[in-house]
């Protein structure tokens, strides 16, 4: 396993900053300047602070339990509409290993199983096959959308696969987990960019191949960590290895480090580059700050994402 020990002083300073940003409600806001708690930064923070000696992880977990929607999903932020959305998969992962959160987690998992891209419906499948063909994709291969009544996209699909992959058994109404995961994986293969890697999910539009994004590619590769021999995965890894040293923003670099570590690629120079970014503690985006911490502690981060090492 090619994980590296990064400068512990850098990591502990970032963890301390992350802990400082925790709101009285237990959650974290998306931006340091905001006081509106949100689920995404809270989940990343909970994942990274899981065994760190700073921050109040239990308060964060309680916050997640309190904000769950009646239908089992999670809102993007507490005041949000109650229909639920893509952050449900993150919440399910953040509550892993907590016996007292099992019922909430199971509700979340059942909701994820009922949640699918609109192209899973026969009517939209037909429309995409006949009338709406400017974006090239196979509507038989569907995953998860960002929120209800829209089509599947790469990032919510990859997060949902990671969350469902953590389920230990296919019992109690979870018999369809394997087939949903497989359909999601096929969707990821289908939506890859022709030159390798992924963007949001539009590989070819109007006959033109679109460029991949490092972070979307990395998140897809995390979800495909047990498909290393597949040619689409291999070309995604090659793209990410090529682009990672050029990344000039910490979020994309952090995701790239996690994905390349999951695929057994050398990451020491990338970790050093990430730790050397100026003013990491003053990153305005709290999700990015938490992701940097995760990337600097890859082994625990990959365990949290359920990635087999």
């Amino acid at each position: 396993m090619p994980t590296v020990a990064t400068d512990p002083i850098v990591l502990s300073a970032l963890l301390a900053e992350l802990a400082l940003r925790q709101l009285p409600c237990g959650g974290w806001a998306a931006l340091a300047s905001s006081s509106q708690p949100a689920i995404e930064p809270t989940c990343y923070s909970a994942l990274v602070l899981g065994s760190a000696p700073v921050g109040n992880i239990e308060r964060a977990q309680q916050f997640l339990l309190r904000t769950q929607n009646p239908n089992g999903s999670w809102p993007v932020f507490p005041e949000d509409d109650k229909e639920g959305g893509w952050v449900t998969s993150l919440a399910v992962m953040a509550l892993r290993d907590l016996a007292w959160a099992i019922p909430a987690r199971m509700q979340g998992i059942h909701w994820l199983l009922s949640f699918a891209g609109r192209e899973s419906n026969w009517f939209w499948k037909w429309k995409f096959r006949t009338a709406d063909r400017h974006v090239r994709f196979d509507p038989d291969k569907y995953g998860w959308p960002w929120f209800p009544d829209t089509v599947s996209w790469v990032v919510p699909t990859a997060f949902s696969i990671l969350a469902l992959d953590q389920i230990p058994c296919a019992c109690d109404g979870l018999e369809h987990v394997a087939s949903r995961i497989d359909c999601g994986i096929q969707m990821l293969f289908d939506r890859a960019c022709p030159g390798g890697g992924w963007n949001a999910g539009n590989g070819v539009v109007y006959g033109t191949a679109l460029a991949p994004h490092a972070d979307d590619t990395a998140i897809a590769l995390l979800a495909l960590n047990d498909r290393v021999q597949h040619p689409v995965v291999q070309s995604g890894v090659q793209y990410l290895e090529r682009v990672a040293p050029t990344l000039s923003a910490p979020s994309s670099l952090a995701w790239a480090i996690l994905a390349l570590a999951a695929h057994g690629r050398p990451i020491a120079p990338l970790s050093n580059s990430l730790a050397a970014f100026p003013d990491l503690s003053s990153i305005e985006d709290t999700s990015t700050l938490a992701l940097v911490c995760l990337a600097l502690d890859q082994q625990r981060a990959l365990e949290a994402f359920g990635v087999a090492l």
Binding site: S34, F77, E79, D80, P145, F147, D149, S251
Partner: protein
């Protein structure tokens, strides 16, 4: 012919039923007419991105009776994604020139805000497009609208049927919002100018990347609902190097040498469309927007600066939008 009470009641019932069926199609879909009596547009010549933009933009703004003293000015450029060699994003030197000009005009604060629609890593777009360094050097605050604090906001038009959207506080609380689009063709909406640029205020963290709800509800309809709800006070459009063809990402750079300033986004977009060789009334959101958001008709525009001449060759478009060309 005598009319019995029974005939009268039956006729009234028929009229009422007819009105119930047809009213939704006849009633306007906007809450209020926001058009000013006349709108002002300035087309400025500028052949390249240089430090001279400071003076060009400042002189251009002086052609308008705007007062930003003591106000919070939010500049909303078009930052979507970065592909080397493609003219996708509003150029950082134009953003800086605008910021500097509004500071000179007495703004209390000037900040730049955007929520990229393709690239989730906003800092990466900022960095690769040259905006991060430029904003840092000039100490201009940037707000990531994809992750800003959100406020549930009822929409002030009903083209999409959406009742409300969660929108970023920074934009809703701005005293003076400046849309700074890159002049481009767009494979879904024909053009992307100051009105379409407002898709960037819809938060990705809530609605995803791309902002798929707006596509499902209709791009032209979504533009109208958004712009009715979040008023654009001024436009500075980057047409120094524009984009034609398969925009907004993979089109071809098209040197145009123009900056378009306007106190009305519909007037700005109609003017940009004419400069691109398009008939503004053939662009759905400009045509419909001219009924309540602003003016597109030449007789209601005060044109200052350079003359608006159609180009010798209209901008290239994908086949679905060939009909936009005015010749």
């Amino acid at each position: 012919m005598s009319l019995t009470r029974r005939d009268f009641l039956a006729g009234s019932a028929a009229l009422a039923a007819g009105a119930t069926v047809t009213a939704p199609f006849l009633l306007p879909k906007y809450h209020s007419d926001q058009r000013r009596k006349r709108s002002r547009v300035a087309v400025l010549d500028s052949q390249r991105y240089s430090q001279q933009l400071d003076q060009i933009v400042f002189s251009g703004l002086r052609l308008f009776p705007i007062d930003v003293r003591g106000k919070t000015v939010v500049l909303k450029p078009n930052l979507v994604d970065y592909i080397p060699g493609n003219a996708i994003n509003t150029h950082p030197l134009l953003v800086l020139a605008a910021a500097e000009s509004f500071r000179r005009l007495g703004a209390k604060s000037v900040l730049v805000a955007e929520g990229p629609g393709h690239q989730r890593d906003t800092q990466l777009v900022l960095s690769q497009s040259g905006n991060a360094q430029a904003l840092r050097d000039e100490r201009i605050r940037f707000v990531d609208l994809n992750r800003d604090q959100l406020i549930r906001t009822p929409l002030r038009a009903s083209y999409t049927g959406i009742k409300d959207l969660w929108l970023p506080r920074t934009v809703l609380e701005a005293d003076f919002l400046v849309s700074m689009p890159k002049i481009k063709t767009h494979h879904w909406s024909g053009v992307t100018l100051s009105l379409k640029n407002m898709f960037g205020v819809v938060p990705g963290a809530r609605y995803g990347w791309p902002k798929n709800i707006l596509h499902w509800k209709g791009i032209q309809e979504s533009i109208l609902d958004l712009c009715a709800t979040v008023p654009i006070h001024f436009v500075i459009a980057d047409g120094i190097v524009a984009m034609e063809g398969n925009g907004p990402l993979n089109g071809t750079p098209r040197p145009m040498g123009k900056i378009v300033l306007a106190d009305d986004p519909v007037a700005a977009d109609a003017t940009c469309a004419r400069l691109m060789g398009f008939e503004p009334d053939r662009i759905v959101h400009i045509r419909e927007g001219s009924r309540f958001l602003g003016n597109s008709a030449l007789e209601r525009l005060d044109q200052v600066g350079e003359t608006v001449n159609a180009p010798a060759t209209p901008f290239g478009v994908v086949p679905e939008f060939e009909h936009l060309r005015s010749f």
